[in-house]
């Protein structure tokens, strides 16, 4: 099939960008979306033009590196799927596709479709961990964790930090990401110890990075490639409220 692409091109962080048109020819329906872009890029480069820059790495939906908004939806909007796992069989011959970077103040564009997501790292650096040093951990089975709790921790821990939640949110809010970390660690007894300090520290950094607030639209949940529930946002809110009266 043949497709018409509209792609955001921007040569650097401080340059103005614009949507540009490209044609993708002979696209095989078994290709992934990124493989389709690879083909377009091969053609661009053989003409001596610079390839469309996009972040990608594992190409199996787990590293969280790929990040593009396809026709107004992060990762193309198929439930539980990242861009690298989106296959061209979901498109039809002659389709026009709009491809844009994540848009948020906290995720400035570096080039074309590549954005800077280091704000997420800085949030984790403030409190998204259990403060244990290497060595001296008790036996792994010394503390049983109810399966239900462990499963809930896992569901939240499945977050890949891709930032689709921020890209989808009309407010550019990072609450699903922050909530997922709070929920992951909060549902383990090891992480429970610091839960209030963690909630406070991470949300303070979240505010400082310029993310928006949560209006409970659940757009984040709808596009999350790991289908993390907005439940984690409620849990974070609860922790923060309690933190005002407990904690240090």
């Amino acid at each position: 099939m043949n497709l018409k692409l509209h792609v955001w091109r921007q040569s650097g962080p401080n340059d103005a960008g614009a949507m540009k048109e490209y044609v993708a020819k002979n696209v095989n329906p078994h290709m992934s979306f990124l493989e389709m872009l690879d083909v377009v890029n091969e053609e661009l480069q053989s003409k001596g033009e610079e390839a469309i820059a996009f972040d990608h790495d594992c190409r199996e939906g787990i590293c969280g590196m790929c990040s593009m908004v396809i026709n107004g939806l992060p990762h193309g909007g198929h439930r539980g799927v990242t861009t690298c796992q989106l296959h061209m069989r979901h498109f039809n011959d002659g389709d026009e596709i709009w491809i844009e970077p994540w848009r948020a103040k906290a995720f400035p564009v570096i080039k074309d479709l590549v954005v800077d997501r280091s704000a997420f790292d800085r949030i984790i650096q403030k409190g998204g961990f259990v403060s244990v040093n290497t060595g001296g951990a008790p036996d792994a089975n010394a503390l049983p964790i109810p399966k239900k709790e462990a499963d809930q921790a896992f569901e939240a821990a499945a977050c890949i930090g891709c930032g689709a939640c921020v890209a989808a949110c009309k407010n550019g809010s990072a609450m699903l990401f922050v909530g997922a970390k709070a929920s992951h660690l909060g549902h383990t007894p090891q992480g429970d110890v610091e839960r209030f300090d963690r909630a406070r520290a991470m949300t303070m950094q979240m505010d400082a990075e310029g993310f928006g607030t949560c209006s409970n639209l659940s757009q984040c949940e709808a596009v999350c490639p790991k289908t993390i529930s907005v439940k984690v946002i409620a849990e974070l809110n609860r922790d923060l409220l309690k933190a005002q009266f407990k904690g240090k």
Partner: protein, 241 residues
């Protein structure tokens, strides 16, 4: 050494200070919005209860109105709550809206299609229209400045609230304003009720899905009951004796 304390929150800060700091944070302002929203929601419920007395006829309704006016303590308690809640609700909305538009400085070329209910996306708009309507509503029925010709006195010398209401809603465009405002209020509540629970961290896998539906039902139900009054007047079900 590296094993310093990890907690960034200042310690030893008085509770009031830490609360103030919290309420001005992004999540804190949402808590303010949720708490004041809950107050306003409660007010609406009570207000509706009073309004529905109109169906029991002029005496009952006027009697209720006079009793309310006679109870200064209750009246001022309610007014006080509203005077506190409305500006706070407004302040929280403006604060987070400003933050939100700053957080998304560049719009998508292809409109953001991430699914969300229109009601949820238009909270600020519906909220502002409702605020404007609220002023009009006060001017109409409380301050008697919007339509003074509709104000009649009872033999006792007090305002005939019942006739004022019937006279007011008999004008089709006044009723239309009320109906439209109520529909927007329905939208606002249908998201606001669910949202306030979420902001306060009240979530349960078993009941939150029900709450979402209940939020819709309560929002629209409440407003349907409000709307029934102008409609009843226009249809002649509620009329002057």
């Amino acid at each position: 050494m590296s094993q310093a304390t990890d907690a960034p929150a200042p310690t030893g800060e008085p509770l009031i200070g830490s609360l103030l700091r919290f309420f001005s944070s992004s999540i804190g302002s949402k808590v303010v919005m949720a708490l004041t929203g809950a107050v306003l929601w409660g007010f609406l419920l009570a207000h509706l209860g009073g309004n529905l007395m109109v169906y029991f006829g002029p005496e009952t309704y006027n009697h209720y109105a006079q009793a309310l006016k006679g109870n200064a303590a209750l009246l001022w308690a309610v007014r006080g709550a509203l005077i506190a809640a409305i500006p706070l609700h407004f302040w929280a909305a403006v604060q987070s809206s400003a933050k939100n538009s700053a957080a998304r400085p560049v719009a998508y070329a292809y409109a953001n299609r991430s699914p969300a209910r229109t009601a949820a996306k238009s909270m600020l708009v519906t909220g502002l229209v409702i605020a404007a309507f609220f002023v009009y509503h006060l001017a109409h029925f409380t301050w008697h400045v919007a339509h003074p010709e509709q104000v009649k006195l009872l033999p006792s010398g007090e305002v005939d609230v019942y006739s004022m209401l019937v006279n007011g809603f008999s004008v089709w465009w006044i009723s239309a304003i009320y109906v439209v405002a109520q529909l927007l209020l329905a939208q606002h509540l249908s998201h606001g009720i669910y949202s306030l629970f979420q902001h306060l961290g009240l979530y349960g896998a078993s009941w939150t899905p029900f709450l979402k539906r209940a939020s819709l039902a309560i929002g629209y139900g409440l407003c349907a009951a409000f709307i029934s009054i102008p409609v009843a007047v226009l249809l002649g079900v509620v009329k002057l004796p």
